[in-house]
């Protein structure tokens, strides 16, 4: 629990005059906290409330009277609409594309393989976790990144840096809008992509 270290800090001090500086183990203070679950706090999914249906009906009547543009769109929300793609789906696809880009670059430049392979594996691990979170099975065939890696190692690294930077920015944006229970994973992915940029320096 995140609060534990705080409690411990306050708890250690008996009444007597301390003879030595009280030491709290750094390990305890810096123990990895466990995120407070907030899954029960989510706003309930928008349901098909009676009021909503009435409003839709009212709008439909209004639209039908006003113009021909009132199609079935107005009722679209009330029907079993096709499931919207998960907001994290682009992040998953990007992780797979990045993994392939690094793997291809490592194959094309064996000198760089030691540096690039762990990053490719990290992107695959991200894809796996995102797939689990979204509730899909990650595609077995990885998408081909646009274009084969350059024969020039410097150009290859520059290309990877550019992809990674875009990926980091996308993950940062996704983290900002993610629901509480998803934010830590997406945040770690954003941070990982930032460390990949550092590793490519």
């Amino acid at each position: 629990m995140a609060a534990q270290s705080v409690t411990r800090l306050r708890a250690t001090r008996p009444g007597g005059a301390p003879t030595a500086v009280p030491h709290v183990p750094l390990r305890m203070v810096l123990t990895c906290p466990v995120a407070r679950g907030r899954t029960a706090q989510r706003i309930p999914a928008p349901g098909h409330s009676r009021r909503g249906l009435l409003r839709a009906g009212g709008l439909l009547a209004l639209g039908a009277a006003a113009a021909p543009l009132a199609g079935c769109d107005l009722l679209g929300g009330d029907d079993e609409a096709p499931k919207a793609p998960d907001p994290l789906r682009p992040l998953l696809d990007e992780a797979l594309t990045l993994a392939t880009a690094y793997q291809d670059a490592a194959t094309a430049h064996p000198d760089l393989a030691a540096r690039l392979t762990p990053i490719a594996e990290a992107h695959r691990a991200h894809a796996g976790e995102l797939a689990r979170l979204i509730g899909v099975t990650p595609p077995s065939s990885t998408p081909a990144p646009s274009g084969a890696p350059s024969t020039d190692p410097d150009a290859t690294l520059a290309d990877l840096r550019q992809r990674e930077r875009a990926g980091r920015d996308a993950a940062v944006a996704a983290c900002a809008s993610a629901p509480a229970e998803r934010a830590p994973l997406v945040g770690s992915i954003a941070a990982a992509r930032a460390t990949h940029l550092e590793a490519l320096k």
């Binding site: 709290v24 906290p33 934010a183 770690s188 550092e198 590793a199």
Partner: protein, 149 residues
């Protein structure tokens, strides 16, 4: 409207992050002593980053009327710092663990508070990577920075 559970407490998560910042600042004392040259400069910069976040958190929590956890005079280090190698090892650990506290704060925060937490998570993860490179640790990255293992 009935709220069944207590509302999520961003202040609690931020207070935990503050406690981690205190410990990190403390740890960089013995770390810096064992380093020289560029590594020592990096340690000083890292410590300054932790101090900046500590100061911001103290201000933020007290302005919000939340409890500001106290700093301690000392913190027991997880292992003795006797040389450059152990100093670098601790530096990696300090950054990873403070990153973990900020990562946990992501779930408890929204808006600017979450941006702040993500910024810290990224900053410390990158610093941990730099320390690994200085220490010669390979690979220099971890797949999920700040995630409890």
């Amino acid at each position: 409207m009935s709220e069944r559970a207590a509302p999520p407490a961003p202040a609690e998560a931020l207070a935990a992050a503050l406690t981690a910042e205190y410990a990190a600042i403390y740890a960089y004392g013995p770390i810096g002593v064992r380093l020289s040259g560029a590594a020592r400069t990096a340690a000083r910069q890292a410590e300054a980053a932790h101090r900046r976040r500590r100061d911001a958190l103290v201000l933020q929590l007290s302005t919000a009327g939340a409890t500001v956890p106290p700093d301690r005079a000392g913190y027991a280090l997880p292992f003795p710092i006797t040389d450059r190698a152990s100093a670098l090892r601790l530096a990696v650990e300090v950054e990873e663990r403070t990153a973990a506290h900020w990562r946990a704060a992501l779930a408890a925060t929204t808006g600017p508070d979450r941006d702040q937490a993500l910024d810290a998570l990224i900053d410390y993860s990158v610093r941990a990577t730099r320390w690994r490179r200085t220490a010669g640790v390979d690979p220099v990255t971890v797949p999920f920075p700040g995630r409890p293992t």
